[in-house]
Point group: C2
Chain length 430, copies 2
């Protein structure tokens, strides 16, 4: 992974070279803390060991019975879906089985999917560490019902990815389903390089070893200085900019195949760092499309942003045919890739010229190795940011309130949070 | 459209009832300005007349030759794609022709789509007011080439949506292609209810009259008081909250079919209001999924946000089958829709309990009429916000710099902006 932070040195806000050098002393201490957490496989820090601890052979063996699948449905929500979706969207070829994600409880969407799937050729992966996630279990019950109604033996077409005990573990034992273990100490949003993220990629036939090798190479680049580690360069720079007022981080890959990566990053960044009144709001963007949507705001709006531009250095290109259309002859003989790269560099310069800080991240290609580097790099950047900000990176306490309220509303127990729902202040205009 | 602003009256930031009443005098003046602009069909304001001026019959007639299409490819970028995408995603049934959008110049994506389309059964709509948009024309040239290579007569399968003159107009005349007029005075991001947004929906067979009726009904609700107009209630509240520090507006529909609506809103809001150092950054979210991704940040992060929660009051529901899974029996006999509604209300209450301002927007159903209300309502809200903030709502000057730089880089002329690209400050960590 190549990180260029040259365009944060000037602008509003900005971080001077001197400030970065002062910050680097803190980075050294944070790196020691991270390495100590990794050595002890502490909760959260253990995720940074996945390049070594993930069991690619075990995953391949577990999904081997489903090698003939035409479709993979991952039933999970949040970190139980986003990592897998990021990998399959980025890597899938046309010939691979289609990957779908039931990561919401929209009845119309779930019904449409359940009715359009080739159920007898579909493999279902139910992912929940606890085995009690309401959305995931509800969707699983619906899909299982649809399979039974279609005369498909769901026990032949289902496996689970879950913790050591709980509903899904019991279900797997009762029906002799393949079961993958969610690793200890790895929060969902850091689980892309574990069983949780890798199973769907394995069924599509992607090279898990290359993914883990790319990640391991990025891990090897972690060091006590942000000037030597791409991941820490990104984590330290985003932290310093946030301190100086860049409360929004627009993540803008220039590759359609990385659109889901921006979603994955948004969860990683928001749920890890958004606490104690701190954190940086991830804004999901896509180049070049969002130049015609968000760029006006990024360039001319409030100075509360940085823009992260991501691209592969190489991709399969496509020539633009010659044309006699007026004023467009300059495009003929060029290629879509050249146009996209020109727009990337133009946008980067445009932001710099307007004083909007921006960071360039490049990988060699959108392939297994490049993704391994990128995903691991962002995770390490996030952990470093959390150390520098002194927040509890690996927890998500603020989502519990709503879970209790929803459960109370559905008759799943007596929760005072549910009472607050009925007391809503209303001022309706209609 | 039903707008409930009760949850902005307390919190951080918040707007008191008194403040809203004071602001309402300014709303009255802004409404007069808007009505005057509409009466004179001034640039931009003319968009708010589309419920009356759009020619549904003309659109249906133009696309009638393509009634047999299996796929529709809209080639356009920004406002030339987002409106159509919002409508087709929200309204499409399984039996409708598939709608695709070439709104980026990623060569891998364009190639994959060109190779997978049933080209002889595909209709291509090339959308560009000027007829010179580099991304759109490049993609069109590639698709035309693919049709020719496949032995398909592209002139039988293509129509254009463009301004009175320019490349695409000339092309249509030369090859006798159906041509729809982009209406005068309607900026791209306000064009969903015109030819630009409606053509793809017409080919899918949706009810354009109901869309326009819904919009007209929302237009009828515009008035000199935010307390009488849902659109103005939203525009005035978001403006007042932004003034008080809510520089991010998380748009969070609780319906998969409205996921693209959040993209459309993000363009409308960012490009219209992001200028002069002002504006509100739209963060695109999706309920309930993003409860497991963004909610931690919204609830516990910096107090620079409001959350807009959108849902239909009715939808096709799906029962959750009874289960013997431990601790989940409360879900059995309930439905996915009930679960989703409980999560909506729980999240709303959760934000309110944490003092995060939030607005509830409801439509009756995600159908043509409901969408007409919602899209028109957001446009009117945006125009009102622009009046209150005293910005140039209908221009996007900040994107021009990058366009010139990209054109210069591609050899399309001598532009000083292109020189700045070569002068980039670099600080690379790899």
């Amino acid at each position: 992974m190549h990180v260029d932070i040259g365009n944060v040195l000037d602008g509003t806000p900005s971080v001077s070279r001197d400030s970065l050098e002062r910050l680097d002393e803190t980075v050294a201490a944070a790196h020691e803390r991270i390495e100590s957490g990794r050595a002890d496989a502490e909760h959260g820090y253990a995720a940074l060991n996945l390049p070594e601890t993930a069991d690619a052979d075990g995953i391949r063996a577990a999904v081997e019975p489903f090698g003939d699948a035409e479709a993979i449905v991952t039933v999970g929500i949040g970190g139980s879906a986003l990592g897998a979706a990021t990998l399959t969207e980025a890597l899938a070829d046309e010939d691979d089985p289609d990957a779908y994600y039931l990561d919401n409880v929209d009845p119309e969407h779930v019904s449409t999917l359940a009715e359009s799937l080739p159920l007898s050729e579909t493999v279902v992966n139910v992912v929940s560490r606890s085995g009690t996630t309401a959305e995931t279990l509800s969707n699983f019950l619906v899909v299982r019902d649809a399979m039974e109604a279609a005369g498909v033996d769901w026990t032949d077409r289902t496996f689970v990815t879950t913790g050591e005990e709980g509903n899904l573990r019991n279900l797997a034992e009762k029906h002799d389903l393949p079961a993958l273990d969610v690793p200890e100490g790895v929060p969902g949003r850091f689980s892309v390089l574990s069983t949780v993220g890798l199973a769907a990629a394995a069924i599509q036939g992607h090279d898990l070893d290359a993914l883990l090798t790319g990640a391991a190479e990025e891990a090897d680049r972690l060091s006590g200085s942000l000037f030597d580690s791409p991941a820490y360069a990104y984590g330290a720079t985003t932290y310093a900019l946030a301190q100086r007022g860049a409360l929004t981080n627009a993540m803008m890959p220039y590759a359609e195949s990385l659109e889901y990566f921006a979603e994955w990053f948004a969860q990683l960044w928001a749920e890890s760092l958004g606490k104690d009144g701190l954190g940086q709001t991830p804004a999901r963007a896509l180049g070049a499309t969002d130049q015609h949507s968000q760029l006006q705001l990024y360039r001319a709006g409030p100075r509360d942003k940085l823009v992260t531009l991501v691209r592969p250095r190489e991709r399969e290109d496509r020539e633009i045919p010659e044309t006699d259309l007026q004023g467009l002859s300059y495009l003929g003989g060029s290629s879509l890739g050249e146009l996209l790269d020109a727009e990337f560099e133009a946008t980067e310069a445009s932001l710099a010229a307007a004083g909007v800080p921006n960071v360039r991240i490049e990988i060699d290609r959108v392939d297994e190795r490049g993704l391994g580097e990128l995903l691991y790099g962002m995770e390490a950047a996030c952990v470093l940011y959390g150390e520098l900000a002194n927040v509890s990176t690996f927890t998500q306490p603020a989502v519990e309130w709503g879970k209790r309220a929803a459960r109370g509303l559905l008759g799943g127990g007596d929760f005072e949070e549910a009472d607050a729902v009925a007391e809503k202040t209303t001022l309706v205009v209609e």
